[in-house]
Each structure stands twice: as structure tokens, then as C-alpha cells.
Subunit: 480 residues, 2 copies
């Protein structure tokens, strides 16, 4: 609950509901408990919101009219896409006066241009559909997330989503050329440019990207397409320690240059959890190793170059004792199996009892030292807890998740969430890192923001919020 | 002159001058006409400013104190780097009440990290020095401009500089991870992060990048280093028409993927000017061709791959009649000679009489149609004028410069500046393009901004300006 809410409209009466309903039509103004339920919970189960109305507009003009009315009524609005966010940004608060503005019906791909390598899509288009649209014209839309079948590009941009291919292609921010945004008072900004270069005034686009629906509602985006790699080579690599990972990363990066597309790490304990909870999985390597890297090199052509590059890196790494063991995927099936291990990691943690999540980043060079320090610290805070630091080593972005001690009560462990995250965050900040690398701030980390940002930066962010949303009706109580 | 100036401090008295001087020391507070002269003109000779004082602070703290005092006095301040800007943003107005805040003495490279591939440099470090620093640790700082020996990274970021390698590495914005900025009232924002991913609140960094010193003074930046290519292959290619350029670009891009690092075009008339005015140049090809491309493919290793890739592209292009003739640089000397043609293009236009400059971009797919349309239009406006559309084809960024008719008076031709630019801009906007792709708005194009931006975007930009510089003391009358 947030004291900034006090000036907002309270409970919604029938007249106001009718006014909002008239904008999108009765069918798309949900009030029935069963209909609205999926919009009020998120998958980690941290938040359960309340709303008098879920609106599903079809057009930018409808979104504009909704916000114009909300502005007049001082009715707070929570923008929502595929509802896959992990920090609660897309869920209304419990007091029940916030409208949910769900963008799912804005699902048109407005244009695909394989010559200019751009496409324009509305906010509600799912990420996997964008990938398919790109594929259809032999291009790649490189954003890739575990939730890609459900998450929507509007939400991806509002949260500046990351994922496994950031190393090669950047995060959502880097894949966007222009935006269409409805402002808090309903004005529409048409910034849907498909230009590679445009130095005409302030960069408004990047201000909205990552602002988590607190200063505007993204309704459409101009996106970048990349050439589609014709070949991919993947290896599953066993290593003895964290410093070997650093050396191996440097070796792959310097050898394969722009061809390195993924470099993910997981500890032995992570692999063990996958093997234990997922029946169809097997250990790709003979013996156990403390750490694993799954590495992918891509090639523009199906000429075996990617495979040769990766093979040659692995040979050099083996010769110089930088890796302990490695296996190259010999088929697409094997390739899929390697990546399935990585993709199942989040799910199996839930099957192993309580799991405390951290989405942090430090400078790439400091990742090994950070993981060692945080592991030691967490062992002090909850003895017997089992860290699974995994993820995007090449970006310095580690999901430093911690599974509960084997014999501990799940709720008792989860009650230590703030202590464990506090310990990890302390280490992160010591390395000049960030407590939210890709998931955002939302509601989950909002209370931490003032601790990690300087007063000047907090003042700047609050000034932006006041400037763009003076009545504080856009996702109030989130981020700033 | 700008009506927003009216609330500013007028002529500077000795007391005020003494207060500012005390901050940086007498030696670095320039008042002598000879000392300040280089800071009041820019190389195109479009503007000649007047100032009572040029301040050259050495530290961020000094910049902060200068702005705190300026804020208290309502004294307008023009931030200035290497003074290579092409739109007058770094030059004070003629009324003579603006201080010039020159950042040249802030020239420390604070850190270079070849593992994390980052470096931190102060605003006054020249671009070529940053390239050298990167080279020293076997890395590449990929920003590259004709003015790199003189321009400074603070100015590069304030103007979001582009150049020839944007195609492969992005513009200044894409090479920056964090900033240190002094705000209009002297507060210091330390946003010098070296993280690859950080989703904690609004993206303040990108708001300052490209804002041309109107909402804050960049004093230092955390920058991205790239792997240094070990090999480069360059070809000089002759083509029959603009559509061939499109097909050739597509061929190179699809064949060489991430290895394509430069793709510049120039018309025959551009080459002729270089051959005419630069004694040491020769035509790399046997016969004349209407268009030329200089294309570069880079390789991570010195293993001949880049050369083989480019050779194979050229063979395929010749087989399918996509290019008319081509020659691959056989030595570094020849490589340099090819690029020298491109680099001399700007200079030789000045030797050919009056030259009207346009820095525009359209979607990449529309470049041929745009060049044809603008050429026809300009011929209507000034019959006999000679367009030289050249530049960064792969970004859609064309410098549509126009040389005067052979027998026309130079001043009479230059008096048509607005007509010629207006005609070109009309074509640009028809293709959804931008009237300033990389040079910015500054003073030169400020009057055009409201014509090309929607009222909503203008309102957003003005709101940003008011929020960050409520007294309008930072580079007033520039950009917004």
C-alpha cells in the first residue's frame, strides 16, 4: 500500500464503470471474478491484487480514451501485457481501486520490412509470434525469454527485457527503433520511426523503455530484425572452478568474436536438480564438475564454420586446461537437450522447496569474486541453504537463487527472503553492481531503490514521474 | 537571438567575473580576445559568438561550482568540447552574455578494463586518444569520426555522434554504459556504471546522450570496448545505379553477417572532386561509374577469412551483374588510399565553391528512391546545382550535400540554403526520414524542430527541458 494513493479515486461506482466500459465495449470490460482472476495474480505467487475492472482495448485510440477518462477521474491504471513480469509491476494493489489495462487485444503486426530489417508491432503481440514473423522473412528477432510464448512486446519493452541472447544482440532497448505511447492524460505520441539514426532532440524512446508503465503506456513499437544465422553450434562444458569460466569466456569471445551468441553458466547443484526433478534429462558429461557452461556460436552460413570455430576453441581450452570436459552437440536433438537443462532450471527450483530469487549483475570481470563472496555470505545468513548462481555470465548477470536447506520448513525459509536478498545485494553493491539486472523494480524492489540510488538520481526519477504523470495515475506505487 | 534569453543575466560585471574566475583559477578563465577567439567560431563559419568569459574547469567539482554559481546568477552557460560540432550547438549567441564552459582540461582516462571491456574517461578526452587507449589493451573503441583527433568524448555523447562504423557498432549512445553529469543547478549525478544490464528505474543516461548540453553537462562516461578485429578487407566498387547499391548491400550483409563494418557510398561527381582537388589521389578503377561503394569486412583473426569473404561476395556480385567493377585493396597502403577518398570528400566540396549541407536519414530500403527524388527536386530549386549524396548507406544516413552551379556566385548560391535544405527535407519527411541523422539540432536546425515533430513530442521535450533546467541557463536557444 502506498501513501501516494490517497488522492486517487476510491471505490468505483456503476456510472464510472459504465463510462469506461463504453470505450472498449462490454465484452472487453471484465468484471466477473472468474474473468478477472488471471489478471490479478502472477506466477511466483507473491502478489494477489484487487480490481473493479479489467479493460482490454483494441486500438491506440481506445487506450487514449481510457487514459483521458482515468485522468479526469483520477482513477489509477495498471498497464498489463502477458502478465509474466517477475517483480509484480503488472498486478494492482490490494485496496482495489485500480483499473487493469490489458493490452493483449492490440495484437496486430503492422509491418514487416526485410530490406530495412525492421518490423512494427502492437504492444499485445507475443514475443514468440514476433520471432515467427521474423523467421517467415528469413530474419531473426533476437529477443528470447523463457516466457516468450506468453509475454508480449509491450511488456518486454516496458520492462526492458533481457534473456540469453543479450550478449550478442542487446536487450529489448537495443532492439527498438521507435515507440507509440499513450501518455497519462491520453495524448498519443507517435514515435514509430524505423530509422537507424535520428538526432533530432531528446531521446524520449529510451525514457519509456524500462519505465514499467509508470510514465506512459506503450501501444506499439518499431523493432530491429537481425540476419538469421544459418547455423548454430552448441557445447556443454564442465569446469573445475569459477576462474576457469572467466578464462574460457575470454577465450571464446576473443576467438569467435561476433559469432558468440550465448554463454550461460550453472553450478553442479543446478544440474543435479534438473536431473532429479525432470525424468527425461541426462547428464551430458561422464563425470561431475563443479560448474558448467552452455555455449553457442552462430554462423551466417550452413558451412560448418560455427562448428569448426567452437571445436577449435574447445581444443585450445582443453590443451591449456581451461576446461575439464566438454561435448559438442552432434544433432539438433542434442542441442535442444543441452538448452533444455538451462530452461528447466527455474522450474525445478520450485520443486525443491522454497527458493529465494535474485536477479543481479556485476561487472563481468567480477562475476567469480562476486559468486564466491555471496555464496559465503548466504551460508552465514541461512546455514545449509543451497545457492544456484546461474545465468548470463557474459553480461555479468547472475540469477543468484538460493534453495532452502533440505530439512528446513519452506515458509520459515521464505520468511528469510529479505535477509538473504539483503546479503546478496550487499555483495552486489560492493562490486558496483545492480540489484535488478533484467527483471526491473516493480513492486518487489521498490523499497530498495532509495537505498541503492543517490539522492540526485532519485530526485531526477521522481521529477520525470511528476512531469509525465502529475496525478500519479499510471501504475502508482511501482518503481519510483 | 532567442526570446527565452530575456530573463537571463545581462552583461557581466567584474565582481561576477571574479567569482567565476576564482573557481577555476585565473589561468583557466579566459577573457583576452585572442584567447577566447577559437572558442567563438566553428569550422563551417556559420556562427560567430560573443562571450564575457571562457572557463576551463579541471574537475567535476569545479564544473559543479560553476553551474551552482551560474544558477544563482541566472547566467547562461554554453558547454563546449572540442568545438567540432556542425550545427552551432557549442557556440554562444551574439548578445554576449553567455559563459563558455570548455571541458578540454577534464582529460583523464580514469580506468581501462580489458576483461570487462569497458573504460571510464572524462569529457575532455579526445576520441583518438580513447581509440589509442583501447588499442593499447588490444581492444577497439569503435566510434570513429573525421574529427576524431580534435573532438572530445563529452561532446560526442552530448551529440550522440555517429560516423562510419555505426553500421557494425552503433552510434555514441550504443557505446556508453554510464555517465557522470552535472545538472543545471550544480548537483552531480554519478551514473558511472560499467554494467551490461541494469533495470533499476528510468534510463537517465540516454536522456542526457544527444541532449546537446541543454539539460546537463556530461563530465565523464563509462564506455564499451569491442574486440579488436585482427584483419580488415576493403574493396572499392563501381556500380551502374542506385538499385545496384541496394542489391549489393543486401548481398554483403547476408553473406558476411556481423563481419560487415563499413559500407559507404559516393557518386562519380564526388570522386571527380577528390581527383580534381587532391593531387595525391587516383581513381581506383579503370573506367568511370555513376556510383561507388567502399566496403569493409573485418575478421577476428589474421587468417585471411575477411578477405576471402569479401572476395567471394564480389565474385557473386560480378556474376549476377550487381556490380560493374571492383578492386580489393591488396595492401594497407591501398586500403588507406580507398578510405582517403571518402575522408577527403567533405574538404574538397569547400574547394569547389559554395556547398549546402544536409545530414539526413531515411529507412534503408528507401535510400535509392530518396536520392532520386531529392536530386530531381534540387535541380528544380537551383538548376545546375551539383548534388553529392554520399555517406552511410547501411544506416540510411546520406549527406545530401549540394555544390553550387559552376558559373553561379557563391554567396548567391549560399543564400538559397533554406530553399535547398527545405526541398531535401520535404523529400526526407515524405519517406518518414529525419532531417538530422547524426549532427543534431543545435542552433542550425532549431527552427525546423516544431515543423517535423508532433505537438505532443515538442511538449514532452519542452517539459523535459523545464524539469531539468527550469531557469533555462544550459545552452538556451539550442535544440528545444
Amino acid at each position: 500500500m502506498d501513501d501516494q494513493h490517497t488522492e486517487h479515486a476510491g471505490p468505483m461506482d456503476d456510472d464510472e464503470r459504465a463510462e469506461f466500459t463504453a470505450i472498449v465495449g462490454e465484452r472487453y470490460a471484465l468484471v466477473d471474478a472468474v474473468d478477472i482472476a488471471p489478471h490479478l495474480v502472477e506466477r511466483r505467487g507473491l502478489y494477489q491484487g484487487v480490481t473493479p475492472l479489467v479493460l482490454k482495448p483494441r486500438t491506440t485510440a481506445e487506450v487514449s480514451r481510457v487514459l483521458k477518462l482515468a485522468h479526469a477521474k483520477r482513477r489509477p491504471v495498471v498497464p498489463q501485457g502477458g502478465n509474466t513480469g517477475l517483480v509484480g509491476g503488472q498486478i494492482p494493489f490490494e485496496q482495489g481501486n485500480e483499473i487493469v489495462l490489458n493490452l493483449s487485444r492490440m495484437d496486430q503486426v503492422r509491418a514487416v520490412d526485410p530490406v530495412g530489417n525492421t518490423m512494427i508491432a502492437e504492444a499485445g503481440v507475443t514475443l514468440s509470434r514476433l520471432q515467427d514473423e521474423a523467421d517467415r522473412v528469413e530474419r531473426l528477432f533476437p529477443l528470447s525469454l523463457a516466457s516468450e510464448g506468453t509475454c508480449q512486446i509491450g511488456g518486454n519493452l516496458a520492462t526492458n527485457a533481457g534473456g540469453m541472447q543479450v550478449l550478442a544482440y542487446g536487450n529489448a532497448r537495443h532492439l527498438c527503433l521507435g515507440l507509440e505511447v499513450v501518455l497519462a492524460d491520453g495524448r498519443i505520441w507517435d514515435g514509430l520511426r524505423t530509422l537507424r539514426k535520428d538526432n533530432t532532440g531528446y531521446d524520449m524512446r529510451d525514457l519509456f523503455i524500462g519505465s514499467e508503465g509508470t510514465i506512459g503506456v506503450i501501444t506499439a513499437a518499431a523493432l530491429i530484425l537481425a540476419p538469421r544465422p544459418a547455423a548454430r553450434a552448441t557445447a556443454f562444458v564442465g569446469l573445475n572452478d569459477l576462474d576457469q569460466i572467466s578464462r574460457f569466456f575470454e577465450l571464446v569471445r576473443s576467438t569467435s568474436a561476433g559469432a558468440l551468441t550465448r554463454f550461460e553458466i550453472l553450478p553442479r547443484f543446478g544440474l543435479e536438480l534438473v536431473l532429479k526433478h525432470a525424468d527425461d534429462m541426462r547428464d551430458p558429461l561422464e563425470g561431475p564438475h563443479p560448474w558448467y557452461v552452455i555455449v553457442e556460436v552462430s554462423g551466417a552460413h550452413d558451412d560448418g564454420l560455427a562448428e569448426r570455430q567452437l571445436m577449435s576453441v574447445l581444443e585450445r581450452a582443453a590443451e591449456t586446461a581451461v576446461v575439464a570436459d566438454a561435448t559438442l552437440a552432434a544433432s539438433q536433438t542434442q542441442d535442444d537437450a543441452f538448452w533444455a537443462i538451462r530452461e528447466r532450471l527455474s522450474e525445478v527450483q520450485g520443486l525443491e522447496g522454497g527458493s529465494i530469487k535474485n536477479d543481479v549483475a556485476v561487472p563481468v570481470a567480477d562475476v567469480p569474486a562476486f559468486i564466491r563472496a555471496a555464496t559465503a555470505k548466504v551460508a552465514e545468513v541461512v546455514p545449509g541453504s543451497r545457492p544456484i548462481p546461474f545465468g548470463h555470465f557474459g553480461d555479468g548477470n547472475i540469477h543468484f537463487n538460493v534453495s532452502q536447506p533440505i530439512d528446513m520448513d519452506k515458509d520459515a525459509f521464505l520468511a528469510r527472503w529479505d535477509d538473504v536478498c539483503g546479503a546478496v545485494n550487499e555483495m552486489v553493491l560492493g562490486f558496483g553492481g545492480t540489484i535488478s539486472a533484467e527483471h526491473g523494480i516493480g513492486r518487489l524492489k521498490r523499497h530498495l531503490l532509495a537505498e541503492i540510488k543517490s539522492p540526485v538520481e532519485m530526485e531526477m526519477m521522481r521529477a520525470i514521474k511528476r512531469t509525465f504523470d502529475p496525478l500519479n495515475i499510471l501504475n502508482p506505487g511501482k518503481v519510483v
